[in-house]
Symmetry: C2
Subunit: 219 residues, 2 copies
Amino acid sequence: MRNLWQPFYLVEEVMQTITDLLNVREAAEQRRSIRSYEPESIPRADLAEILRVAGLAPSAFNLQPWRFVVVETPEVRAKLSEAAYNQKQVRSAPAVLVLYTDMKDTLENVDEVLHPGMDAAAGAAARKTILNSFASKGEAEREAWGAEQGNIALGYLLLAAEAHGYQTSPMLGFDAEAVKRLLGLPDHVRIPVLVAIGKGTEEGFPHHRHPADRIVRTA
Amino acid sequence: MRNLWQPFYLVEEVMQTITDLLNVREAAEQRRSIRSYEPESIPRADLAEILRVAGLAPSAFNLQPWRFVVVETPEVRAKLSEAAYNQKQVRSAPAVLVLYTDMKDTLENVDEVLHPGMDAAAGAAARKTILNSFASKGEAEREAWGAEQGNIALGYLLLAAEAHGYQTSPMLGFDAEAVKRLLGLPDHVRIPVLVAIGKGTEEGFPHHRHPADRIVRTA
């Protein structure tokens, strides 16, 4: 199943020629939570590029504990909708991205994320530092840590989707255990968010945010 | 102290005229963790705009539990450096952003984040839904939830900084209790990350990320 995604690395060069992406401020300002979508499926190359950009998010120790399941088939979306308390956007959007984090997988395969620019000694030292820093944590604490990191990628993902002309709706209202069962995910993983994605057919609510002087101070 | 930030809302219109911001993909691709910076301080208008964009990040129930302390004065930076195990970038960067999350403040002032587009009945219902959903959680669990949301704003912040021509280094290596004492933050808050920010004077390491087929699958 994973192999479906491999060929799309080939289209990266084509994607590089796109010059009409939104800048960061435009994407942040235009993005709204959207609950109603056109039914047409998202071209695979667009989804792959949005997820590639999301994956460029930084993470502590570069661990990248995030994983994604792209739910597109109507049968699975219908069951996902049930697990998400029948929120309208799960049935309406052509795809729902399940962002989960898996620190067990991450730490068992830590060599994959060590930077290839390090020599053997530096790599060994980095591996030891990483494993030591999690050695005293229980599984639940490790996975909670990974979930927190996952939301950095969520920030990237939402802006990348908007920049590519897609709207989104991040959701926390779902039965995580039911989603894991549906998708065959291990018990220990965390699911920071589901994200409905597609071409929106409504405007959404304008932003309502704290003024700067409520949330920023200097020292 | 907070009032220092208020006037910069006045420059938003000027900032809107900037058209050379990086697009989302460029910002994601160019961003590296940078540990060495030019000493010049960041114009207040740029910092205000970057934090404004960060604050446009979505959060569950629109709670926006994130808060920022901009640490710029040399004395406070020196003490912050000690609390961050003397990481080079804390002394090198002209500013360090302390991103903390405060669910106690958020829930005690929940009316501030209710959307003004709701009528009184809808607002009352939303307030009840929000408070009920946290009623069964203890303080630690509530604050951990808020910290997870904080990292959505971090994703936005890192891309906004890069788009405006500033480099960043997000850091998890610090003594959170020492940082709280230094800045006079309440015990209950969480600090998801410190972010050094400025004009970088090094290239940083190229990205090393999982290929898509390692972290994406379809269903």
